[in-house]
């Protein structure tokens, strides 16, 4: 629960008012549903999906067949995935309070791609790595390295960088 | 941190006035024991006690307290 209190307030007003009251666990179910669908589409088996999302295999199966889940939750979850990357990430982290599952859900449901570059002015202070909720940043030889595959474009690293060395660009993929 | 004076303790000996390197820069006759000729200095003895004229010029080198016999001039 590091970053997120303000975001929850904001989203409570904008999303939840228009879609009726949603318990956080329902939104989480919606997010897991969307992730499961994407992962199955990527060729993973139901067993693998269940393991990644730490769910029963039967629940995954139910989800994929549209059972035990209100469509309303899915709609809300879909709206959340379309938020700006920082809101999507921080809200998801607040809902799950679990770093590893947050990473998987955000990476799987993000439609945007980002190219991250660290300039030579980086001093290797590690503040970005400590800040990154996607664990996309590692330090090597006194320089930060961002794994663009995992970067969701939240720009929190850029904001904390004391030397302004992080440049993150959204990759235009034609859609 | 600032230079301060306790006039109750001061004997008016002028050790601080002549030992202060900044005083000596502003009024060279202070270097070597004479009284400064201008009120631009940091401190001077007036009516038998030391008075701070320009404490903002103090660089807090700690020389004057070193020579003060009664701890009347100090940094705080």
């Amino acid at each position: 629960m590091r970053f997120v209190e303000i975001y929850i307030l904001k989203i409570n007003i904008s999303v939840i008012n228009t879609h009726g009251v949603q318990m956080p666990k329902h939104i989480v179910s919606g997010l897991k549903y969307l992730t499961a669908v994407e992962l199955i589409r990527d060729g993973l088996s139901q067993k693998e999906v269940a393991k990644i999302l730490e769910m029963d295999r039967s629940t995954v199966s139910h989800y994929l067949n549209g059972r035990n889940l209100s469509w309303n939750s899915i709609e809300v979850a879909e709206i959340i995935t379309k938020f700006c990357p920082r809101d999507f990430l921080t809200l998801t982290y607040a809902l799950l309070d679990n770093s590893e599952k947050t990473r998987i859900i955000v990476k799987t449901c993000s439609k945007k791609e980002f190219q991250a570059n660290i300039e030579e002015s980086c001093i290797g202070c590690g503040l970005c790595a400590d800040t990154c909720l996607m664990n996309a940043i590692v330090l090597d030889d006194l320089k930060a390295h961002i794994d663009s595959n995992w970067c969701n474009g939240c720009l929190m690293c850029r904001d904390v960088c004391p030397t302004n060395s992080i440049k993150i660009l959204e990759v235009e993929n034609g859609c | 941190m600032e230079l301060k004076v306790d006039q109750e303790l001061c004997l008016g000996c002028g050790n601080c006035v002549v030992s202060c390197p900044v005083n000596a820069s502003i009024s060279p006759e202070a270097y070597g024991g004479h009284g400064p000729k201008t009120e631009d200095v940091i401190m001077m003895v007036e009516n038998g006690v030391v008075k701070l004229f320009n404490e903002d010029k103090c660089k807090r080198c700690g020389t004057c307290p070193l020579f003060c016999p009664t701890d009347a001039i100090y940094l705080e």
Binding site: I123, G126, A129, K143 | P21, G62, L66
Partner: protein, 353 residues
């Protein structure tokens, strides 16, 4: 945000940042700090401020020589790498960056070669930081001289002349207070052969010729003295915390056993016109480079300040403390181990003036 915490204990400072991935901890040890302000200069986020080191060094105020703003500090470790005396140390997960190859390290050392050292203690005396300890075991005096001595106690009148004359305190008399029944000053006399050097002073000064003594070293030369008996054994120790690599030990060592490598090179200029001889620089200098010259004859007017630049480490503490800007320390070189990081290299190079 991952926030820093700061703890100040006495005048030592500890700044920490703990995240699930890593614990970073910067430690500042005030008693090691020499007030050079290099940390303030190299800090990329201006988190460090040098205090009023003149007043602090002269015990006029009790506070840390530097202050660290934990809101600004990013725990990058540049201050730790550039500190010439290791008063600052950054640890990543409890491991010092001074032990990590990827971090540039200042190249500096001070060593005494025990093979060459003659344990004369010149360096121990000269070291301005009292960082050197020379432990030595001297040879047995009795093995360096040889002879014979005997006191004929029947002839001896216990007058005490030999005891007073003996330069080696080798004659030991059993003193007692004279009484009416025994009005002498001593009841017995013996020679401590571990101390006796067979100089024969006792024999020559005895008023009753009670001492027989002969020195074999003098009459027969040195043939029966073993050279190994005259060897001095010992060991040297340099306290790394206190050592500032000033080079006094290297300069004063008569047998070139001490070797010092300095990390900074440069020039030290004193403007004697501006100097008003307050002595703040003399007090702060960790290397005894600066001093007030002493007059050699009555009435001689000496310079206000004397410098011995040989021992300067170009730390710049004197320049920082001078209240009248009479001192200029130029750094022309900074020696550090190679690093792949261009930003670190650039920042360390920026210490050159």
């Amino acid at each position: 945000m991952v926030a820093n915490t700061k703890e100040v204990k006495e005048n030592d400072i500890c700044v920490q940042r703990i995240s699930p991935e890593e614990k970073r901890e910067l430690n500042f040890k005030d008693d090691i700090c020499i007030g050079c302000g290099i940390c303030e200069k190299i800090c990329p986020v201006e988190a460090i401020d040098l205090g009023d080191i003149g007043a602090i060094e002269r015990n006029e105020i009790d506070e840390s020589k530097i202050s660290v703003d934990e809101e600004k500090c990013v725990l990058c470790g540049m201050c730790s790498s550039a500190c010439p005396v290791d008063a600052l140390e950054l640890k990543l997960d409890d491991k010092s960056i001074k032990e990590m190859d990827e971090y540039p390290q200042l190249i500096k050392s001070a060593e005494i070669d025990d093979e060459t050292c003659i344990y004369c203690k010149a360096c121990e005396t000269a070291c301005p930081r009292e960082a050197i300890t020379i432990a030595r075991i001297l040879p047995d005096r009795s093995k360096l001289v040889t002879g014979e001595i005997e006191i004929d106690k029947d002839t001896c009148i216990n007058c005490g002349v030999c005891e007073e004359m003996c330069p080696a305190d080798a004659i030991e008399m059993e003193h007692h207070l004279p009484t009416s029944s025994d009005p002498t000053i001593s009841s017995d006399i013996n020679v401590n052969k571990d101390k006796c050097v067979y100089c024969l002073i006792c024999k020559k000064s005895c008023p009753v010729d009670a001492i027989k003594a002969v020195c074999r070293s003098c009459s027969y030369g040195e043939y029966d003295l073993k050279p190994e008996d005259s060897e001095i054994e010992g060991s040297s120790f340099i306290d790394d915390d206190a050592c500032v690599n000033c080079g006094w030990c290297e300069e004063i060592c008569p047998v070139d056993a001490a070797k010092v490598e300095k990390s900074y090179a440069g020039e030290l200029d004193v403007d004697l016109e501006k100097c008003n001889a307050c002595g703040a620089c003399i007090d702060i200098c960790p290397c005894n480079v600066l001093s007030f010259p002493e007059s050699t004859k009555p009435g001689e007017i000496v310079e206000k300040l004397k410098k011995d630049e040989n021992f300067c480490i170009y730390c710049g503490a004197c320049e920082n403390v001078c209240p009248v800007e009479a001192i200029d320390v130029k750094r022309t070189d900074v020696k550090f181990t190679p690093t792949k990081s261009k930003s670190w290299k650039k920042q360390l190079e920026s210490l050159k003036t």
